[in-house]
Amino acid sequence: MYKVLLFDGGVYRINELYELIEDIGGFVIQKTTIQVMITVTMAIPEEDQPIIEAKSRELGAKLVDVPLAGTEIVVVGPTLGRHHMPHPICDIAEQLRRYGAITVVMGLARGKGRATAQITADERAIIDEYDAAVFVLGNFKDCIINDKVRLFQDISVPVTVVCGPDIPGLPNCEALVSGVGRKVERMRRAEEIEKLEEVSTAVDMTIGKRRKEIDEDPLFVHPSEIKERLEQIQAVSESLRPAPIVLHLDGLRVKVPFEEYGNQIAELEVYGRKLGDIARITGSRMKGSTLIRIMTECEVKARDSIKH
């Protein structure tokens, strides 16, 4: 299984690190160079972590565990009104970012209230594009147990619920963190920071489960390998949008319109095959983006056997 780590050090002899990552069968997910300093996010086989640790020590760098790197997570609030936003939704999103995830904040159009709270099919489809969802709910136990559970009942990605009252368990979600609720100020006290840690641990747990599931039937190629090839497309390399390529657990999001570049992306070559043959390439609900979901090795084999 791959482990994602962040190398924080200098550019001196950095090529030795890149070579080592390649030798052990790992990938560089992201590089950020600031003058003579560099941060490298990498995915390496878990059992080879000591080798990378030794190299980092040798190069005088810090190695940080970023368990959520290579994932895109949506943090959902019932509305974008000030009753739910920005606290604590932004604090949670920021916390997940510190753990390496790319986060997106979303407010539902009609999520407020009790009986009137609802989620549209479109909103569900948008949430399903991400690797995991965090629903941030309010203070009333009665309301959450009886009504708000509807909001995440048909979501197919792992859901973590964050709410105020202490609830032993909720249906339709993989993890539950209580003790947060509504806030009118930033979460900066010691006990609140502990809660944020609890949220990120819960999300990490759900992502870990999903990673294990994927490892049981591995993807045909790791998303990082496709990232390198996508950078060859001029529109992608020249894109001014923040993070034009976002890694998902089972694929990628490329921030170029599917209608214009879908065919070009499908024609990219990956290990002697066209990307379109080993991945499902679709338009995203977020305008101007393309979603790539990589097929598993079994799926590709099954398709091959049908063809022959």
Binding site: K112, R114, K141, V184
Partner: protein, 185 residues
């Protein structure tokens, strides 16, 4: 300031008490409030908030809080009670327009083209402003989905009864009795 919360859920009660406290501190009106009572019934659903205000000091003439002196080309105002400075400035802006009012220092204002008589007759009404701020705090506090609201207000207390369904006569009566209870304190 005393806050009483009646409701079946202890977490929600404590949390709403804290939310109100923080909101009032943010708006700087904690000292203007005597007592707050909230009745929260999530199962109905019903949210009643009743606030008893302290006397905001009553309405005051501009001449009581400042010295007014007519000079060439306008009137010079020197504020004596600085608590009223921001309110006086915004009242002058509202009444005569920004181009005529010049703030020379923190407590000195020159009103171009105005006579002393024009300014002496103005009144500052702090109660109206306090009520506006209080309403804003209540809108921030009320659960967002509770759009059906009934308000009762008097000189010293205001009560807002809110739900997301149709308000029942019993709920309205409870709101009215809470308002009376707060007025009678």
């Amino acid at each position: 300031m005393e806050i009483i919360v009646e409701g079946p859920e202890s977490f929600a009660n404590e949390s709403y008490s804290l939310l109100l406290e923080r909101t009032l501190v943010d708006m700087g009106i904690t000292t203007s409030i005597d007592k707050v009572k909230m009745i929260i019934r999530p199962a109905e659903p019903l949210f009643i908030i009743s606030i008893r205000m302290r006397k905001a000091g009553g309405s005051r003439m501009v001449s009581e809080i400042s010295t007014i002196e007519e000079r060439e080309g306008g009137t010079f105002i020197s504020i004596i009670d600085e608590n009223y400075a921001p309110r006086l400035l915004s009242l002058l802006w509202r009444t005569f327009g920004r181009e005529r009012i010049e703030q020379i220092t923190r407590l000195e204002i020159f009103a171009k083209g105005m006579t002393a008589g024009d300014i002496e007759s103005l009144r500052l009404d702090p109660e109206e402003e306090l009520k506006k701020k209080l309403l804003d705090a209540v809108w921030r506090l009320l659960p967002e989905g509770f759009k059906v609201r009934q308000e009762e207000a008097s000189e010293i207390a205001m009560t807002i009864t809110a739900t997301e369904r149709t308000l029942t006569p019993e709920q309205i009566a409870l709101g009215a009795s809470t308002q009376k209870e707060m007025e009678a304190l």
